[in-house]
Symmetry: C2
Subunit: 279 residues, 2 copies
């Protein structure tokens, strides 16, 4: 596995790096961002995986999330993958919520998507192995979080892998693709009509089917324009209640769905991860 | 003068707003971003004007500069104008460093630029009047800063208007368009071959010609890829020394020209403005 260095910029007391590699999961080049705080040679640092939302590349969170100061302060590596395979040979769709930039962190089974849209394997297996082999991460101290479609990704990756992450967060997550128009469209396309096949990609269904995780925190703005029609946070908290799984829901009065919301609460969110990752 | 509201998002303890208006200076619609911290009704707040660099719109600093936390903390309004007129009827150039996105904060005298490229009047006169009339700003407490081409803008606007700004900052400014390739190209295009006409748009020449300001601070990364060939910070500090004008130069070891540099030192930079603006 060859890593191609794209860029490094000093940022706060650390380095914001960007790398590219040929992914065996997607069969395409994949680019990801890694923030590495200054650290003593030989030290391994806790890591937070950040999964981004619809339309995003590795760049959006890197530029807009304001995670770097907190990661520098707490000594945490922060990784932002892309949200889908990309390229002229990769199937696409003219709308923003399906196709390139909208991989939904699933392994597609339907044509023409199955050839490259293997984002579950990419973020769950391939990228963690690649990062563990090439960066000073302590894989015993992992946290995960994400925004919107990436919040869905963070919750479902963690619920399918209980015990892997010490902390699981999400900002304004799509909690149930089975129960919203974004999910209907994308998962029908990637996985087909049999909705039983969707359940492993739905945080509410995973909990109903028995999955449990510790240390789960959700940040949600009350003025989020997608809250009622797409995100439906209550479906997740209801499922957690029924399953007696603790979730720490932070409702933020007046904040919308944008990175202006995410960045506002990022330092506090990372501080919460840090307490668990450094305990 | 009609202001068209584009967007408002809650961000930290304040609002990130975007507005558009028909500019009489440029003869085009102009868009700008305004961050307004929460404040008691009737209160007027100090203001920092931020001039952005090559290729930027009002959005880049809004998304990448990480000014909002510090402005919320100190109660300072932060304004990001666009860097040029835009639109299909506006003259343009195929390269990034001239034409749309590269107005250099001058009033162009040469065709085809003169028709719309009146950015000096826009940022120096029109926008301040518009903002004073429509936002809760205390025009007795203004600061100005900017990045790269916008650092040039901030220094030259302030040097031409001594006493208007209590604090004048710049990140990685182009200090002398008379002495760098970016300046040669753009100012020849906008102002013509007579370099005497450029002097009011050159911070070094303005100081040599007698302009003085108090409370001037420059942030500069030592790993800035444009430092030697374009920015030439020493020309500014040399001119200040010769003129016995104080300048507080902060060299930052290992930082480049990017927003990763700017965002790292923005909170500290705003803190410095705040001390002067709130004194």
């Amino acid at each position: 596995m060859t890593l191609e260095h794209i860029s490094t910029s000093r940022s706060y007391t650390g380095e914001q790096q960007v790398w590219r590699h040929e992914s065996t999961s997607t069969g395409t080049p994949m680019t990801f961002a890694v923030y590495v705080p200054d650290h003593a040679p030989g030290t391994k640092l806790p890591v937070i995986w950040w999964l981004s939302g619809l339309t995003c590349t590795h760049e959006n969170a890197m530029n807009k999330c304001e995670y770097k100061a907190a990661c520098a302060k707490h000594g945490i590596i922060f990784i932002c993958p892309d949200t889908s395979p990309r390229g002229p040979e990769v199937a696409d769709h003219e709308e923003y919520d399906f196709g390139q930039g909208a991989g939904f962190y699933v392994n597609a089974t339907q044509e023409p998507w199955a050839a490259h849209y293997q984002m579950r394997t990419y973020v769950e297996d391939e990228l963690p192995k690649l990062v563990a082999a090439n960066f000073p991460v302590d894989m015993e101290r992992q946290g995960i979080s994400g925004h919107s479609m990436g919040g869905h990704g963070a919750l479902t990756v963690s619920l399918r892998n209980p015990g892997r992450f010490r902390s699981t967060g999400a900002f304004a997550p799509i909690v149930s693709p089975l129960n919203c128009p974004w999910g209907d469209k994308a998962l029908t396309g990637y996985l087909g009509e049999d909705r039983a096949d969707w359940r492993e990609y739905d945080s509410v269904a995973l909990i109903k089917d028995g999955a449990r995780i510790d240390n789960c925190r959700v940040e949600q703005g009350t003025a989020d324009e997608w809250l009622d029609g797409q995100l439906k946070t209550h479906l997740f908290t209801d499922a957690c209640s029924a399953a007696e799984m603790a979730v720490d829901l932070h409702m933020h009065e007046g904040y919308d769905h944008s990175y202006f919301f995410v960045s506002t609460f990022m330092a506090d969110h990372i501080g919460w991860h840090a307490e668990l990752l450094k305990a």
